[in-house]
């Protein structure tokens, strides 16, 4: 249910996503976002403290939806391998289907000050922790090695997927991202060894 108050809020976020994806954060003037959202420049400041705030909220909003999808999909299984597969599938599929979102998360999000990076870290945390829980679950049910450093491994897993997406994006999205799921999973499960 979207109240009348939040209508403009979402219009602005929608406009910002479009403008950021087209021009990059630093080249996206507030007035351009306002125009894309169909509101006046000043109106933006009724919903956001600063320009940076738009980016943060955009990230939180969009990532929140993603994290929800992750949680929903994983809830259905006790198999850690299967859970990892679902995580990876959603990760690749969702970003492949939303190139604008992909661009903003992979490129623009990183273009921010240290302060903002930490803010983003907080938003990202539930996702990272979800991966951590899956790894822990895999250990607990005997699927994974017991001596895994879960905090390190979750970073390795997230970092891998993250880089694959960025690489795909910078390459010009010339191949299918979701087609990489199987081989990515192979690597997570068995590593490179025979």
């Amino acid at each position: 249910m979207t109240s009348k108050k939040t209508e403009k809020y979402h219009l602005i976020l929608q406009g910002a996503l479009k403008v950021f994806a087209e021009n990059g954060y630093h080249r996206s003037q507030v007035s351009k976002i306002a125009k894309a959202a169909g509101v006046a420049d000043g109106t933006i400041y009724l919903y956001f403290k600063r320009k940076e705030d738009i980016l943060i909220h955009l990230f939180q909003e969009k990532l929140g939806e993603l994290v929800n999808k992750f949680h929903e999909s994983v809830a259905e299984t006790n198999d850690a391998c299967e859970a990892l597969r679902m995580i990876c599938t959603i990760h690749y599929t969702e970003l492949e289907n939303n190139p604008e979102l992909a661009y903003v998360t992979q490129i623009e999000m990183r273009q921010s000050e240290l302060e903002l990076r930490k803010e983003i870290g907080i938003t990202l945390k539930p996702y990272i922790e979800l991966i951590e829980n899956i790894v822990q679950q895999g250990i607990d049910n005997g699927q994974f090695r017991a001596n895994l450093n879960v905090k390190l491994v979750r970073n390795l897993i997230f970092g891998s997927m993250d880089e694959v997406v960025t690489s795909w994006l910078l390459s010009g999205q010339k191949y299918s991202l979701r087609d990489q799921v199987d081989e990515t999973l192979q690597f997570f499960i068995h590593g490179v060894s025979k």
Copy 2:
């Protein structure tokens, strides 16, 4: 022996590294860099076309050194696992020992326009390819699975390490990065499975 001509060039790069690490790229005024380098503002433009150019050269210079170290170390062995270990060791150790460089590569480098990102991609390519070669070598000598997608795997490996470094940096460098080498290698070689 540093020729007189390149002396200021390196002074400026050194100053820029310091200033970028302290303030971030966008908050680093050219005049601040000049001051840190002990030269006049205008002098910078005798050696660099524009501010962005400093970042690119800084990256190329520093990353070039790193890539050389990677190549040298790897040249000594035919064992793909051992080569991966060396790569990871150098990657973690060098950045741990050069926090300023780490900050610039992990945070500031990403703060740049798409155009620059591609420039950086080119500089990074030899490193990525080195990893690819190691993986290929591992396949060839039977250490690794034959059906590995080398281009995907190299991205997974690089992305993993990259994320570990970023995470370490954003955490405030509270733990030892090089101590993560063994477990990182475990993950690369065997994945998570028992």
Copy 3:
């Protein structure tokens, strides 16, 4: 009645005229013009694309008024000699009464790039053509020689008056400009010969 929108536009032009006359175009910083106009620096760029634009608009605005006066005065007569007299009278009188405008038209206008000079040429054209028409009229009604090269003669006439104004200005405006009308006319009509 000046609409609210154009109010600042005219304030800026007025300020620019003053500042240009006092300091010359190149020594007139935008901030100085803004101050003289009683607006913020940035406001200028809501009404003009760039600094040069102010000069062009100033010229068009002021010259447009002059050209109108020329046209009005000439419309009243069929006598080419009388028309020339009116042209000359207005030319001298108006500039004598507006030393700031005189300074800008005679000195600053010429200080601009070739590109701008052509722009100015376009604005000046109606005036030059008016002179041409008068000459043609004089030929047609038998007052002037039939074999006059009207395009050359209009330049000779305009150039004469223009130089007289510049000379008067550079001399420090020590004598009356309008007092030169009679003798200037004599020269136009009869030349130097007995």
Copy 4:
């Protein structure tokens, strides 16, 4: 006789004439002039106090030659009409044959500060006075009207020719300047009347 000391002086002036004509005064960096002259930047300051100085000297040098030609040609005759014809012929011919010089005198010379304009006025004075003398001579020998205001008339004459040259230049030199001599003279001698 050119001493070794003045060799570079003339090289610089020659280079400046070329560069000014090609780029205009304000877009002509000192370093560009130095390059065109085949000397080092600093060398220029051994011969000229400031950049503006080059323009002044260039003007004085080139105009000095012109004035000499004027004087020589006029010395041969006592006929004021004939003298005016010679003045006009040389004025148009010389500038038509030296488009670079024409460009600098008609366009660039005007692009200078009031201070410089007065400097130029001084250099131009002998030429203006020469015209004045011719007019006076015409009066004295009964060729011209006795009640002519010589100081005004000289300005009218100079201004006419000056405007014709500028107009020809801005038109892109599409027609012959010297072909305008006869009709210009007609205007000076008889004005426009029948």
